[in-house]
């Protein structure tokens, strides 16, 4: 009885402390949003918002538009997702139904390892390998380009997508595969016609998470995209993302409109990520409570 009671109390203690921690996190996030809005207020009241929401960034001749950066952030993330997503599905299919157990395990360990590589390493390797390759082999531009950044970002978000999708497959595969096997479907057909349709929600969640990671990444675009504040007309153009913009401008004179524009950038990024997360919740209610990852 006494032990039970003590257990109950300690459980209540755990509950409380978890509630407090959750509360602090939630308040911190709301506080960040409030702070961003607060910093953007001078922009809105001084009519700076229309200056910031324009298409030209030339701070030394009075143009402070960050829309090219917004567009590039979106395009670059879509591009990276377009490369990484099919590749991730292929990898998941391979490790789930095709590969022998040992090989699948090896690949999953490799993918897990990829998530732990700091982005600066991706950026650095890209500067030394991919940039010269694009510049010298393709012979267009400086190599610091939309294409280079997009390729590097796709590599960055690939493991995120694979792991989320694979976790989902792990939940549904055992029972479904048994049935499909009984119906005489080959492994590839099981994957294409049974597993993918059955886990389409997981696919969407994985894609949105990958997209969010690509939008939010700063270092890779800062290091390899070239940072020219322009609207790209080809894959080989130098471009600047919103995140890189914030990193580049944050050290300027704090009285200038350049400096204030980064708060607008921050707010846009925040809303973009918030939107992506909202989309996840809408598309997949309750994924938070039953998501778990298993090794095959």
């Amino acid at each position: 009885m006494g032990a039970n009671r003590a257990g109950l109390i300690s459980e209540r203690g755990i509950q409380r402390s978890l509630l407090i921690v959750t509360g602090i996190s939630a308040v911190a996030i709301l506080f960040m949003l409030a702070l961003l809005v607060y910093f953007c207020l001078p922009l809105i009241t001084s009519d700076g918002m229309s200056a910031v929401l324009s298409w030209e960034w030339k701070p030394f001749s009075g143009h402070f538009g960050i829309l090219p950066m917004c567009l590039v952030s979106l395009l670059l993330s879509v591009f990276a997702l377009g490369l990484a997503f099919p590749a991730a599905i292929g990898i998941c299919g391979f490790v789930t139904v095709l590969a022998p157990r040992g090989l699948a395990r090896f690949f999953l360990i490799l993918i897990h390892f990829m998530t732990s590589i700091p982005t600066v390493i991706y950026g650095f390797v890209s500067v030394f390998l991919l940039v010269p390759l694009v510049r010298d082999r393709l012979g267009i531009g400086t190599g610091f380009s939309f294409l280079t950044a997009g390729l590097t970002l796709s590599l960055l978000i690939l493991p995120t997508i694979v792991l989320i999708f694979h976790a989902r497959l792990q939940q549904i595969a055992p029972s479904l595969r048994l049935t499909a096997e009984a119906m005489g479907l080959t492994p590839a057909r099981q994957f294409l016609h049974v597993l993918i349709p059955a886990s389409s929600r997981g696919l969407i969640v994985a894609a949105v998470m990958g997209f969010g990671r690509a939008v939010g990444d700063t270092l890779i675009s800062l290091m390899v995209a070239g940072n020219a504040p322009q609207i790209p007309s080809s894959l080989f153009d130098s471009v600047r993302t919103l995140t890189a913009h914030v990193a580049l401008v944050v050290a300027t004179d704090s009285q200038s409109l350049s400096y204030r524009s980064i708060f607008a950038s921050g707010l846009i990024l925040f809303l973009l990520m918030g939107g992506a997360n909202f989309l996840i919740r809408r598309l997949d209610d309750g994924i938070g409570k039953d998501r778990h990852e298993e090794e095959p």
């Binding site: 500067v127 010269p132 400086t142 190599g143 504040p229 153009d237 580049l248 944050v250 050290a251 004179d253």
Partner: protein, 281 residues
């Protein structure tokens, strides 16, 4: 015999090293003697180019005498003038001479202490080694786009510029581009180091770095046949330079004066050189 001589040589070399080290630390102690017995705080704000120099000096002084606290903030030259003028800090740093209006308004006293020069840099294999000021302006404006138009090999020019907050960019843009347009297609890198890395790996690249950062990994181009060297920058024949100033409101107080003397002294010069600037005589 041979072995013995070798050993003697080693001993000689080692003792020279030790002596040098001893003299060095003795000299440093001497320079910091001005701070003995002093206490209080020095607030510094303003130009960002100054920060590494200020930080190193502050570190040395605070290590020597822990009763002295020195805070170093950035903010830019304008902020430096405002803060020192309003009495919020003791030293306001500027990367430009303070204007007559500012001197009149706040009664500022300026202490120039270093030259910051900027060189146009290309890949070491680039045959171009001299450009006119007009050619540099046209290249960075994007109206000259091929190296063969300025006497180089056939190949499109790859432009590299610095970020908006860079003091290097400011000097280059004001003194060499005469505030002219810069092509929107130019790549932008965020430090002198990143600029060096970009240029040293791209044979068609052109950019600009602080003179102190020029080494064998890139080639500094002559401007109107004047080489971008520390000598030419300090004797005035190389034009793309600015002075870095410390400013005080009226005569500096004793502790602040000691700090300024340290920066202007031999150890200050050492720090200034270490960060790629040229100490003023």
């Amino acid at each position: 015999m041979g072995i013995l001589r070798k050993r003697m040589n080693v001993v000689a070399v080692l003792s020279v090293f030790f002596l040098l080290g001893w003299f060095r630390s003795a000299a440093l102690c001497g320079a910091l003697d001005g701070f003995a017995g002093l206490e209080g705080t020095i607030g510094i704000a303003g130009g960002t180019a100054h920060i590494p120099v200020m930080n190193d000096a502050a570190k040395a002084i605070m290590t020597f005498n822990p009763k002295i606290r020195i805070t170093v903030e950035g903010g830019g030259s304008g902020v430096g003038v405002q803060k020192v003028g309003e009495g919020l800090v003791d030293i306001g740093n500027t990367g430009r001479a303070v204007s007559q209006e500012e001197i009149a308004k706040y009664g500022l006293k300026s202490f120039p202490f270093a030259l910051d020069g900027v060189a146009v840099a290309v890949h070491p294999d680039n045959p171009v080694d001299n450009l006119s000021q007009q050619q540099v302006r046209d290249i960075f404006a994007g109206s000259i786009t091929n190296w063969k138009d300025v006497g180089g090999k056939d190949g499109s020019i790859h432009l590299f510029c610095r970020d908006e907050a860079s003091g290097t960019r400011e000097v280059f843009w004001e003194k060499l581009l005469k505030k002219g347009p810069v092509a929107g297609t130019a790549n932008i890198v965020s430090s002198n180091g990143a600029m060096k890395m970009a240029i040293s790996r791209d044979k068609d690249a052109v950019g600009y770095v602080g003179i102190g950062h020029v080494d064998q990994s890139l080639k500094a181009v002559k401007i109107e046949s004047v080489a971008a060297t520390q000598e030419n920058a300090s004797n005035g024949s190389y034009p793309v330079v600015r002075k870095l100033y410390m400013n005080t409101k009226g005569e500096p107080a004793r502790l602040t004066k000691a700090f300024i003397d340290y920066i202007l002294g031999p150890e200050g010069s050492e720090i200034i050189r270490r960060h790629g600037y040229i100490p003023l005589e």
